[in-house]
């Protein structure tokens, strides 16, 4: 799949929630877009990422 514009090998379909956990991101601190559509946090568990998806993840850190 494409992750933030770069190729990324996804070995098997995985939920957004587990994908985020594997990447050490926190689900409360990200914005996720799959194939051009924003996915709300409440859908992270039931949305499955596949190898032909285009995924964009923005992770926020604190400070302002």
């Amino acid at each position: 799949m494409k992750l933030n514009g770069k190729h990324f090998k996804l070995s098997e379909p995985v939920s957004i929630l587990n994908f985020i956990k594997d990447k050490n991101y926190n689900a409360d601190r990200v914005a996720v877009e799959v194939n051009g559509k924003i996915v709300p946090k409440t859908e992270f568990e039931k949305t499955t990422l596949k190898d032909d998806d285009e995924v964009e993840i923005v992770c926020f850190v604190g400070g302002g």
């Binding site: 409360d28 914005a31 877009e33 924003i38 946090k41 850190v61 604190g62 400070g63 302002g64």
Partner: protein, 266 residues
């Protein structure tokens, strides 16, 4: 006779150089077509001349004409009718709001729930006299002292998923300037989900004193712009210092300016 604009009003003048038409006086500054001049220059039809008395606050029309000369009339006109909302009035938001006010953005909406406290003074646009005041009111007061002719509205409220639409619908650009990463993600997600056409300028990663050159602006997804180094969060041993916070605030304010002027690339 040459017909020129003097402090925004059309005037016929004799003499074909600036100083022959307007002999320089002590205590004045002359601006010819947006550029401050200290020596004589030829003048022609429709030149814009501003003669500013030092140390005196001008009336609205004259201030508008000066701002217009400074930023070019086209830019000034667009900014004057723009509406920008700033969510969070800390190190980023307070400085961004002041920057937008100085540029003459016509309508500002400032939102925060907190009061000014002493530790804010290290990087936020507040003074000792503001301690204990709601940040919204403290900032509104300051902006009135910078440009009293722009419209500032404020709301002293905590932004949540439930009030994002009600608060921010209808603005040209929303500026996310929160401190807490969960709040940042909440606002950005809510705007992208519920106001998909609205542009949002956000920030992530500006703590510490790493190189200021690592702070940049990126366009992400459809209408999201993120400024920062994307990794340096405020943490134990990594405080929020004014230089990088101000660099990041400058990135955000500049991206907002670019969006208002129709430039969609970072």
């Amino acid at each position: 006779m040459i017909s020129v604009f003097v402090n925004g009003e059309r005037e016929e003048v004799s003499g074909n150089t600036l100083f022959s038409a307007f002999p320089p006086k002590e205590n004045t500054v002359m601006i010819l077509n947006g550029f401050q001049v200290n020596e004589d220059f030829p003048i022609k039809e429709n030149d814009e001349i501003h003669i500013i008395e030092k140390g005196v606050f001008p009336p609205e029309k004259q201030l508008e004409a000066m701002m217009s000369a400074r930023h070019t009339p086209k830019v000034h006109k667009v900014l004057k009718k723009s509406k920008v909302a700033v969510a969070g009035l800390g190190g980023l938001g307070s400085n961004i709001a002041v920057s937008l006010a100085r540029m003459g953005v016509g309508k500002l909406f400032l939102v925060d729930f907190d009061i000014v406290e002493p530790s804010n003074l290290n990087r936020q646009s507040y003074y000792i006299k503001h301690i204990g005041m709601p940040k919204t009111d403290a900032l509104k007061t300051q902006i009135e002292e910078i440009n009293p002719f722009i419209e500032v509205s404020v709301k002293n409220v905590k932004v949540t998923e439930d009030n994002v639409f009600e608060l921010f619908n209808g603005f040209d650009v929303i500026c996310e300037a929160f401190d807490n990463p969960v709040d940042k993600a909440m606002l950005v997600n809510s705007v992208m989900l519920n106001m998909p056409k609205t542009k949002i300028v956000s920030a992530s990663g500006m703590a510490g004193y790493d190189s200021a050159n690592n702070i940049k602006t990126e366009k992400r997804m459809r209408n999201l712009y993120v400024c920062g180094d994307f990794e340096t969060g405020a943490d134990f041993g990594t405080g929020l210092m004014p230089p990088r916070v101000l660099v990041c605030a400058g990135h955000q304010a500049n991206m907002i300016l670019r969006l208002l002027l129709g430039q969609n690339e970072p």
